[in-house]
């Protein structure tokens, strides 16, 4: 059996891996995936807290899981819109490499 700290550690490491991917990778789709990974890491934290925070009737506190449910929903919407934007971007620029997308240079 694992303790809450173990779950938090796994979640933190997963988040760090996602962050590293966002920083290192230059393919915008992969960056997007890494963002999803970070979201999922956060979900893991919430579920762990939900399970370890036992409510008065002895069952897990389901508020945390409801939160994860919402995160998944938002993530689905986000992915749909984000991918549509990526497609539009690709049509306009013929690239999805973030190193070529420097029009925001001040």
């Amino acid at each position: 059996m694992a303790s809450l700290n173990d779950y938090l550690l796994v979640s933190g490491l997963l988040f760090a891996i996602g962050l590293a991917g966002v920083i290192i990778r230059s393919n915008i789709i992969v960056i997007f995936m890494c963002l999803e990974l970070m979201l999922a890491a956060a979900s893991l934290t919430l579920v762990a807290f939900s399970r370890f925070n036992v409510s008065s009737n002895g069952l897990p506190d389901y508020d945390g899981q409801v939160f994860v449910f919402f995160i998944i929903t938002v993530a689905a919407a986000e992915v749909a819109v984000g991918l549509a934007i990526i497609v539009a971007l690709y049509r306009a620029r013929q690239t999805i490499n973030v190193e070529d997308l420097t029009s925001m240079r001040g």
Partner: protein, 608 residues
């Protein structure tokens, strides 16, 4: 009586309003309205003169303003001074209207012109009839306005537009002094009404006579502007850009005399023996003006300019007489001068009209044969101006010289020199323009003018002769102090001046083709009006440059450089600074974001 007085004031205003608002398109009707209103006011003035009672009427405009100060009234005052002046204004005014019918026949903006004349008649009768200084000041400004409008009648000509602007601005300087003077007088005496000033003068409350003197000098500044005394005389010669009848009416007979009239009003209301320094200053300014103007007149070529400078010189005479505490002599000269100077101007107008708007006397010549009647009337006017015995000018000038002789010898000498110079330059004008041979095509084709022009000329020439005699003067003149004529130094001085000036003029200009004196250096100074215009231009330019430099400094360095420029530079600098951060590189953003997260965690968790 009161109704008639209000009518005299109101009719020209009605006429001006009607023309301006209703009949601008209808040129014939406009001239008819303006001329008939001038005729009716003349008749009404004669009625008032015939009645001969002193009276006044007023209604309160601004209520009482405290213990010391009386309120302001709008009122009319009819006494000998205003009655006589009314005759001058409406008489000359009507004749000028009559003359203008022909002179402005072909002008396309005739309606505007007659509207201006009516407005001027309204303003001028307002000055004459005003019962207090505030009301006088209001009409004072109105004559300035109508003068501006009429000088700039031919505003298409840049010189006319400039001249009207110059006249207006120069007058503003004087008017500002006038206003301050009125306010000072109000502060000292508590009233601005002439009749109450008389009462105050009879039993003066304790006051500082220096203040009163300064107030008087400030009021005199108004007269300096309006009557074109040195150093504000520069506008009057330029004002000759206006139509010649306007010059006759406004810039010779009436408006420029308003300053003298106002001073006479003041001097007859308040006893000024106690503050001698102010009247003396006034007298000296008048004397100097008359001398300078006479010198300038000797070298002018434009017939109207010569007359303008002679007007300046004669106004100087009047002011000098008033300053010598002999307002009667000054106003008497104003009265006679109005007739013969109007005559001279209208005569010159006739000449200019006949010569197809040629104004240079050296291009005229020989007009005696072409225009005999005009020549005759012009000669009468000239003789009157010279002070030839038995003309009107002789009597009035005599009185001024007499006054000067009794009060101050230097001023008497100055006046005698001016009389000599007057004879000289008027003789020059007459000899060059009317005698000799035709010197240009325009003068060759000149014809005698029509009856409508000759009627005013003849009328005025009659008045120019008879208005000086006691039987006429005592009836018509605004102020007249009958002095028995005697063969004193004044008579001899004036006779000598006549002979010497006339002799010189005859010597130099008989059959002259060009001006024999124009080579002389001193003549150049006269011709260029002592470079006063240039001096003013320099002063104004210097002042403007100074102000401009200061404004430029403030604008460029403080506003432009520090405030506006500083803001923009600061914004630009910050923009550049933060623009550096905007690398456009997503990795950079992500790195910074990660750093931010780490910092946030560090601060929230690990900082105690």
């Amino acid at each position: 009586m009161h109704t008639i007085a209000w009518l005299i004031l109101g009719l020209p205003l009605l006429s001006a309003t009607c023309i301006h608002l209703g009949f601008k398109r209808n040129q014939g009707l406009s001239t008819l309205i303006a001329t008939s209103s001038a005729l009716i006011t003349l008749i009404l003035s004669l009625v008032i003169l015939g009645n001969g009672k002193d009276t006044s009427t007023a209604f309160s405009w601004v209520g009482a303003m405290g213990e010391h100060f009386k309120g302001i009234e709008i009122g009319l005052r009819i006494d000998q001074l205003s009655r006589g002046m009314l005759i001058v204004v409406t008489g000359v005014g009507f004749l000028v209207h009559l003359f203008s019918l022909t002179y402005m026949k072909d002008d396309r903006a005739k309606a505007r012109y007659f509207c201006g004349l009516s407005l001027f008649m309204f303003s001028m009768t307002g000055i004459v009839l005003a019962s207090n200084f505030i009301m006088m000041f209001i009409f004072w400004e109105l004559v300035g306005l109508s003068s501006y409008l009429l000088i700039g009648h031919w505003y298409q000509k840049p010189s006319a537009a400039d001249a009207s602007k110059k006249a207006f601005l120069t007058n503003r300087i004087g008017d500002f002094g006038f206003m301050i003077g009125i306010l000072m007088l109000w502060g000292i005496t508590g009233t601005v009404t002439f009749s109450e000033l008389e009462l105050w003068s009879a039993t003066p409350a304790p006051f500082n006579s220096t203040y009163l003197g300064i107030a008087l000098l400030c009021i005199f500044a108004g007269a300096v502007g309006k009557s074109a005394q040195a150093p504000l005389h520069v506008w009057l010669p330029d004002a000759m850009e206006g139509p010649t009848p306007v010059s006759a009416l406004i810039h010779a007979a009436t408006m420029v005399a308003a300053g003298v009239y106002m001073l006479a009003r003041f001097f007859t209301s308040v006893d000024l023996e106690i503050i001698a320094f102010a009247p003396q200053t006034i007298a000296w300014i008048g004397g100097i003006t008359s001398l300078l103007a006479a010198l300038m007149a000797t070298q002018q070529d434009d017939i109207k300019k010569i007359l303008a400078y002679s007007t300046l010189s004669q106004l100087g005479y009047m002011v000098m007489a008033v300053g010598l505490l002999n307002a009667q002599a000054g106003v008497f000269h104003l009265f006679t001068h109005a007739w013969f100077k109007a005559l001279l101007f209208l005569g010159s107008g006739a000449v200019i009209y006949a010569c197809h708007h040629e104004q240079n006397i050296w291009k005229m010549g020989g007009l005696r044969k072409k225009m005999p009647l005009t020549f005759l009337t012009f000669t009468i006017g000239t003789l009157a101006l010279m002070g030839f015995p038995l003309t009107a000018g002789f009597f009035s000038k005599e009185q001024i010289l007499e006054a000067a002789l009794h009060q101050s010898t230097p001023l008497f000498v100055m006046a005698a020199i001016v009389a000599t110079l007057t004879t000289f330059y008027m003789g020059r004008l007459l000899l060059v323009a009317f005698l000799g041979e035709n010197r240009s095509k325009n003068s060759h084709h000149a014809k005698e003018v029509g009856a409508l022009m000759l009627i005013p000329l003849v009328t005025l020439s009659v008045l120019a002769v008879i208005s000086g005699y006691p039987f006429v003067a005592s009836a018509l003149s605004p102020l007249y102090d009958h002095v028995d004529f005697h063969f004193g130094p004044a008579f001899w001085a004036s006779l000598t001046a006549l002979v010497v000036g006339g002799g010189f003029a005859f010597t130099f200009y008989r059959n002259a083709e060009t001006d024999p004196l124009s080579d002389k250096k001193i003549a150049l100074v006269f011709r260029n009006k002592f470079y006063v215009d240039e001096l003013y231009a320099q002063i104004v330019r210097f002042g403007q440059d100074c102000v401009a430099a200061i404004v430029h400094f403030i604008d460029e360095l403080i506003i432009g450089g520090l405030i506006v420029g500083g803001c923009s530079r600061a914004a630009e600098g910050f923009g550049k600074l933060f623009g550096r951060l905007q690398s456009g590189n997503l990795h950079g953003y992500a790195t910074l974001f990660g750093l931010g997260v780490i910092l946030l965690i560090y601060i929230t968790v690990f900082v105690p």
